[in-house]
Symmetry: C2
């Protein structure tokens, strides 16, 4: 809900987000906020990312859902720490929820936290969680016109994943129109074509993310020795 009274709520959220961000920086953890519609493959992208990066980095996952723990169970089955947040109706994660969730994680031992937001292309856009970067996932079955209809989420994301590209033939998806729309909304964000469940395109994405994590770690160790 985007309404006038939101200002004070956003201000409170931003303040706690700043405190989360300071804690993440102190502990040297890179935090990624993952935004997408329901069913676009967030959990599959997370599982593929874990598989690609777990040898180099220590990873944990925070799962946001209205209800259920089906996603965090899938993550735990891979031997990865996962905290489930049930928002109980709320359409997005807030920084206060993240603050409570990280209390149960050993931040000193972690390099990367993946935050799976509630499936929603609108509301999570406005709520800073203290993350280092936002990434959004659109899946091919959702259609190439989504940047026109939901421009905000495409604009705030540092990277964009187009998932389920293996199903392109089954859907009337105009990839040129999609790429043009992305170019005009957010020309600096890299676009990764992926099929997370088939493994296609995961390496390019994982390399981008690993590069960001290594850059953070280098800047931290430079600070520590200076």
């Amino acid at each position: 809900m985007h309404i006038d009274i939101e200002q004070s709520i956003l201000a409170k959220n931003d303040s706690l987000a700043a405190s989360n961000r300071a804690l993440f920086a102190e502990k040297g953890v890179f935090v990624l906020n993952i935004l997408a519609s329901p069913g676009s493959g967030k959990t599959s992208v997370i599982l593929a990312t874990i598989e690609a990066l777990r040898d180099e980095f220590n990873i944990a996952v925070i799962e946001g859902d209205i209800a259920s723990s089906v996603d965090s169970e899938k993550i735990k089955a891979q031997g990865i720490a996962a905290v489930q947040i049930n928002t109980g109706g709320a359409c997005h994660l807030e920084s206060a929820m993240i603050k409570r969730a990280i209390d149960v994680l050993d931040l000193d031992a972690l390099d990367l936290i993946l935050l799976e937001n509630v499936g929603n292309l609108v509301c999570p856009t406005d709520f800073d969680l203290g993350e280092n970067a936002k990434v959004m996932i659109l899946s091919v079955p959702e259609g190439d016109d989504k940047p026109l209809k939901y421009p905000g989420v495409f604009q705030v994301s540092e990277a964009i994943i187009l998932n389920k590209v293996d199903t392109m033939a089954s859907f009337n998806f105009d990839e040129g129109a999609f790429t043009d729309a992305i170019e005009s909304l957010n020309p600096r964000a890299p676009l990764f074509r992926m099929s997370a469940t088939k493994g296609t395109g995961v390496d390019e994405w994982a390399e981008w993310l690993a590069g960001n994590i290594r850059a953070l770690q280098r800047s931290q160790s430079a600070q520590a020795t200076s």
Copy 2:
């Protein structure tokens, strides 16, 4: 956003929704509120519904989107009156937006208004627009676990459409698990299997909707003659 202060907003919305509902009843128009994720095929279902029912009923469409008018243009291309609401960031339609939109429609000439809500499985659930019924659409690519994650929207809907059933083979969709979850959340809602773009299952859905419209018209003409 589901927060404490929402009560007064919901109360104001409900009051205007009641006024919309009274107007629709006076004019004998059946109003359907259509809820779904982005890209689940709301506009395709609307186009298929128009095709199936336009010989019997006079139809108009109100399109809700954050931005753009791509959907209302598709409807108008079929020779059907369409009003585009751009919510400018808001994650759901509200009754005040509908009140303004119907000012430009000739309600006396209409039998059916289809309201396409913003693509969002969470926020629209709480906002009564004055409709006669809510229908929700889930598409196969979104996955069979969505009733567990977004129970509210499955519970408030008078009917449920499972769209894009032609793509079942490309996705790991457990139809038995999906049907069981629906049964436990909302045993009274009929479930329509559909591929709106291929025309599969449209007749059964259109017959259910036509039956509801005819029942409304019969009760109205009975009131008028009593």
